[in-house]
Structure formats: structure tokens, C-alpha cells
Amino acid sequence: MTERFNYPPNREALSAARAKALETLLIKKGVITAETVDKVLGFFETKMGPFNGAKLVARAWVDPAFKVRLIADTPAAIAELDFPEGMAGAEGEYMKAVANAPGVHNLVICTLCSCYPWPVLGLPPYWYKDPSFRARAAREPRKILGEFGLALGAATEIKVWDSSAQIRWFVIPERPAGTEHMTEEQLAGLVTPESMMGVAVANAA
């Protein structure tokens, strides 16, 4: 057999064993604790992510007064909800929401990934930082949305918002038709990160 085929019989099992052993060893030596590892992972999985944005949008859908406040003073409206610490803090105070409406569609772009509204949208997709995406989205948003599978009629105005260190935008998509019977929690399940970037709309399941 050549070197090329000389993989361990079960690469996955070996990697799993190595990762586990490394964690165990570092815990045993007192370098880390299981809690610090869990806390780091929890940051991505339960604290900061698109689930926060989805909750805000769902609340805006069921509570028109909240929607008005969310647009007028985004950090204050975010602070109304029971979010983990930091949501409306140093990161959140620069966030601003814009709402889609009949005839108006919003699209958010940014020039630096550090400007991405992470606390509400999670990690940016791979194309977001692509210079050609940003340049084209600013120049020909209708065409680029078409490439994302979102065909908007000529009558729909497209507004493009460029996020920066000063303001990080996110979109409140329109509530899909036929969702009148759904609970706020169920509605949050319809809100994708893409719909909050404005490259998609929210669809009823």
C-alpha cells in the first residue's frame, strides 16, 4: 500500500479518542475545567446566535407596538426581552432594525465581518465577506437577490443597508400569510438568518 492509502482503519474513532483524551488530560492537570469548555460552547449554542434575532422578529409579528419600538430604538426594545447579558450591551447598542413591508424589501451588506450583528444573527455565511457579493449587492441588488432565489417584482423597492462599526443592521421580514394560528414560539421557527439579512423572506413552514 502506498502512503496515500495509509489511513488509520477508523479515522473518526481515532479522532474522537484523541479529542476526548486531550480534554481529559487537560482537566486532570487543572489547565481547564469541564465547565469552562461548556461555557464557551454555550456562548455559541444558547447565548449569541440567530435564535435571538428570530425571537425578536416573532415578537414584532405578534405585537405591533413592539415592532414600532424595535425599529425606533432597537437596543431598548431588545432590552425588553429576557435575553442573556450582553445582547443589548456594548455589541447590541449599535444594532438597528429595518422592516420589510408590502412594496419594500431591505437587504443588509457589510464590509467587515466584525460588523456583522452576531448577537442576533450568529455567524456570517461564507459569501457575506466576499467582496464581489458586497459590490454587486450595492450595485444590482435585484439581480443578486434573484440569484439567491428571491425574485422581487419591479414594483418592489429594494433598500440596501451597509453595516459598519457604527450601525449593524438587521431586517424584520414580513410575517408569512397563513400563520395566524401559530404561537410566537412557532413563528420564531420560521425566521432564518437569511431572512434577517434580507437575502430571503420568511416562509410559512
Binding site: S15, A16, K20, L41, A90, E91, C113
Partner: protein, 110 residues
């Protein structure tokens, strides 16, 4: 502006060769061990056990080394295999543990 280490660490990777797999705004782990490897690396750097950039340097080197020695279509590619390789290296290099200690534990676990 970035107040959380976790956010800083992953944002730094965005758009570079070492950016982690993502799905719908979240991290994407195929298996529990990948999640463990990710969490251990961030927890260590957050505690100051090593510089995040040192780990990233290893990770980018491991990725480019793999790419140079494998076909583009090689389906055995796994981002977190390279992550684990980079993590082990930074752990040994910074004297947090030795290769022998890890080998001993791996043997003991069978």
C-alpha cells in the same frame, strides 16, 4: 467593540482559510468530538494558555499542508481533524502537556 473572547476568536477566522464550517448562523459539528475539540481550544485561549493567533497559525498550516498532500476531491477531508492536529501542537508547544502524556492516556483508554 468586541467584548466577548468567543466572538473575537471566531470573527477573526471569517473569510480566512481556517474559517470553521457553519450552518444557518451556527457552528456545524458532525460529531461530539468536534464540538469538544472546538470548546477546548477556545477555553484554553480564553484562559490565556496560549495566544489565539498561535493556534490559528497551526490550523492554517495544517490545512494548507493537507491540501498540498491530498487531491481536491479527497473525501477524507475533515476540518476538525486539522483543528485537532493544530490544537495538539499548540498544547505541546506551550508546555501544557506532553505528547507522551497524551499517548499514555490514549493507550490506557484502549
Amino acid at each position: 467593540m468586541l467584548t466577548h473572547f468567543e466572538q473575537y476568536a471566531v470573527t477573526e477566522m471569517m473569510g480566512d482559510s481556517d474559517q470553521p464550517p457553519r450552518l444557518n448562523g451556527g457552528l456545524c459539528f458532525a460529531d461530539e468530538w468536534e464540538r469538544t475539540a472546538f470548546g477546548v481550544a477556545l477555553a484554553l485561549a480564553k484562559n490565556g494558555a496560549f495566544e489565539w493567533e498561535s493556534f490559528r497559525h497551526n490550523l492554517m498550516a495544517a490545512i494548507s499542508n493537507w491540501e498540498e498532500t491530498h487531491a481536491l476531491t479527497d473525501s477524507s477531508w475533515n476540518y476538525y481533524d486539522r483543528w485537532l492536529e493544530a490544537l495538539e501542537k499548540v498544547v505541546f508547544d506551550s508546555g501544557l502537556a506532553t505528547r507522551a502524556e497524551l499517548a499514555l492516556l490514549l493507550d490506557a483508554n484502549g
